[in-house]
Symmetry: C2
Subunit: 326 residues, 2 copies
């Protein structure tokens, strides 16, 4: 089952179920007005939403056509947005780029940061260029939306807390990062609003590609019309979503609707490309040798990034994030 | 006007207006079911809530008695909890305690961190002692609840975005802080759920004590029955709430209901005491001379902290946070 949120002028939009082929949808507001309301009352809502999806898939219900710019983020505002950095190749590259040390426990202690969650962008919302000097970058990620998670939840028990999966563009202002992290309190101004894919899918939509808390599919990133990244989101995710859940639940609990991100999807094999510009710039610096400079600039007005993920049959699971810098 | 949220088994509780003397209240669910709903539609709700409060204050409406353990946090879950560290005396003391450098731009660039906001504690909720080795500490703070704040809002324009004020106990696990901050991504496991005062008050409730984005009143902190802190929350708040709003809105917008904290209230004059144990421990170390150790342990089972603020006539503005370690 795939859920989406339609822009309707309200703060939280209205819930809709998307047909299997992604071209039609049906309003689900008779079951729950918003995705948050459905997550708040999932045991009651899930079977009804699935029945609606089945009617749509079978043709018993015609639904209405999908209009791509009608979608907000599945959760236009969320109670928490917690982002991991579970692809260690990404951590190693971006820290090298800014001359920062690697955390000593990198391989055993997950990196996560608390992101702003009160204003989240839809899949086609513009990326505002507040200041060209800030170094605007995209980051393609896979995310899960959680149920209530009690403090102390262990990785072995985390699978049942994963309600939905979706994609994110975790927008980053690279040139604000070094000074901000040096202050010791983590990212803040360097992380403007994150954008999400139009559809949030239940784990069964991924079939065997959802395995042990990882998504074994490729994340396609197209930048200004060229495929720049086709990284596998599975094997190199060093900490699975289940391990990330255990990490974040060590000292507190979470409410249903918390979004948890993988961090930028990144593969050691350079042939796979990149899911953010910072990695490409680092590779350019390394390849240029001592004193090398990056060739790729950060994003500028009119640049366009698209982030998508196809299943083994070529179907876009989450719909496409397609944002333009304004 | 003072608003509160009554525990009723639902996720967001039910909204109530508190009488001027703080001993009776009236359900406000006929106006808005929850505080978040009121904040989402404030121009419509505010005059109606004020009319209800006036009826309660005049005796036209009897209301029901206040029962202290009936309150949740005014927002049992919030879309964002952003905490500043605007009392530089606190920053200087706690960084000295853990041997950390002061940020070079401490006096011109505010420190803020993004806190977890999906599960917030009520004023009498227990403080769970997950592990005695974590170094459980309280932090007494003043907070504001914001309206929608557009990206780019300036300090000079921030006053109108402050809807309500309240107090917080920003619980901290001190012994998890150094290693977590060294990773570079800010606080996470070291910040369990924050607790809030029972009442959230509109700025006019503070009279002249609310001035230029600061609360010129003392924050009373009682620890195991003894007054340990009576710090003025006004003059030494280096960055006002208005300046903090400008800082956090530099690169993104906020939804109504965002909670913004001052950081631990702290005065340079030692006679004022402390609003957290970490400061007291640092002072003990400094006073003991080279190789000195703190005498005060972190919180243990059965310890009790109370945080309150009285107006110039001795009335508790926000009601009392009173938590016990379990």
């Amino acid at each position: 089952m795939r859920l989406s949120t339609l822009r309707d002028g309200s703060r939280d939009g209205r819930l809709a179920v998307v047909r299997h082929d992604g071209v039609r949808l049906a309003a689900a507001t008779g079951i729950a007005p918003t995705l948050q309301a459905a997550l708040d009352d999932w045991p009651r809502c899930e079977p009804r939403l699935r029945a609606l999806a089945a009617d749509l898939d079978s043709g018993a219900l015609a639904g209405e056509p999908v209009v791509l710019d009608a979608f907000c983020s599945p959760l236009p505002r969320a109670y928490e947005w917690v982002d991991g950095s579970a692809f260690l190749n990404h951590v190693r590259l971006v820290r090298k780029a800014r001359g920062a040390d690697l955390p000593p426990k990198l391989e055993v202690d997950p990196l996560v940061y608390q992101g702003g969650s009160g204003v989240l962008c839809g899949p086609q919302d513009p990326m505002p260029l507040v200041d060209e000097g800030f170094g605007l970058d995209f980051e393609g990620e896979v995310c899960v939306i959680l149920s209530d998670v009690p403090q102390g939840t262990r990785a072995a028990d985390a699978a049942r807390h994963v309600r939905l999966l979706l994609l994110a563009n975790d927008v980053t202002l690279r040139n604000l990062v070094p000074e901000e992290l040096a202050k010791g309190f983590g990212f803040f101004q360097s992380k403007p609003a994150t954008a999400f894919s139009p559809f949030a899918a239940t784990p069964d939509e991924l079939g065997p590609a959802w395995k042990e808390g990882r998504v074994h599919l490729r994340l396609r990133v197209v930048y200004n019309g060229a495929l720049v990244g086709d990284c596998d989101a599975g094997p190199e995710m060093h900490f699975s979503f289940f391990e990330l859940v255990e990490h974040i639940a060590r000292t507190r609990s979470y409410t249903a609707g918390t979004i948890l991100g993988s961090g930028t999807v990144s593969n050691a094999d350079r042939a796979r490309g990149v899911s953010c510009l910072a990695e490409r710039r680092t590779i350019e610096i390394l390849d240029a040798g001592p004193g090398g400079k990056p060739r790729t600039p950060f994003m500028k007005r009119g640049d366009r990034v698209e982030i998508d993920m196809l299943d083994t049959r070529g179907r876009s699971i989450f719909g496409r994030i397609a944002q333009e810098v304004v």
